[in-house]
Symmetry: C2
């Protein structure tokens, strides 16, 4: 049993690595999160995204409450070995806790002197109905 592949990842000072979740097929960037060593190991083992919640300071099995599980099709590591990219199948098509497809729903409009972030993506499902 060798976990050399886990040693190859350059974990940061907190033992974490940033993770980008991208939807297989559409290639949409769904969300961004963090993993620790155990989260990445579990992700590979179960082929479902497991993150590490920095706010709750514990493993976060994506979809455990919402049912919005991410089935992992592919895992990539970047040139510096310090960022992970997941290609996932997003159950229900909703990755964001706001009930939207993806987390990046605020678009910059304007100029550096007078800019604003505008919400440009619809809520697909009421969060109250997701998190009962």
């Amino acid at each position: 049993m060798t976990t050399d592949w886990l040693d190859k990842v350059r974990w940061d000072a907190n033992g974490l690595v940033p993770v980008i979740a991208q939807e297989a097929g559409s290639n949409d960037v769904l969300m961004f999160a963090w993993m620790n060593r155990e989260a990445l190991r579990l992700t590979v083992e179960h082929r479902r995204a497991v993150y590490f919640s920095r706010s709750r300071n514990k493993l976060w099995f994506k979809g455990e409450e919402s049912g919005h599980v991410q089935h992992v099709h592919e895992i990539r590591l970047d040139c510096d070995e310090d960022v992970v990219l997941l290609k996932v199948e997003q159950v229900s098509g909703i990755a964001c806790h706001t009930g939207r497809h993806a987390c990046f729903f605020q678009k910059f409009e304007g100029t550096a002197e007078a800019g604003e972030w505008v919400t440009v993506e619809p809520v697909l499902k009421d969060p109250d109905a997701i998190y009962k």
Copy 2:
């Protein structure tokens, strides 16, 4: 002159925010980097990606040495206001310093017990020819 939009970003303890660069059109995730407040402001102003290099501790005008500039088509902010997504046109089609299209060229293969990262993307241009 209002820069409220810059205040809306939740900069981390080091004054940085993680940034994902995605290719407009293909939707490929090209790279991951960081920005400070000035980098994001300059990115909006010039419509070219400007990052903050943590290793060199200074602004990094993407493409300043390589010529592989990223023209910014769109800027998105996530639900927690602490991650930025850029949609860019990648000059030359090469985003990675290794001379590859994107930085995520190492693919996980195997199992949790016996896994490895395998390079699956070609070098499009010799880095020695990029950085003279």
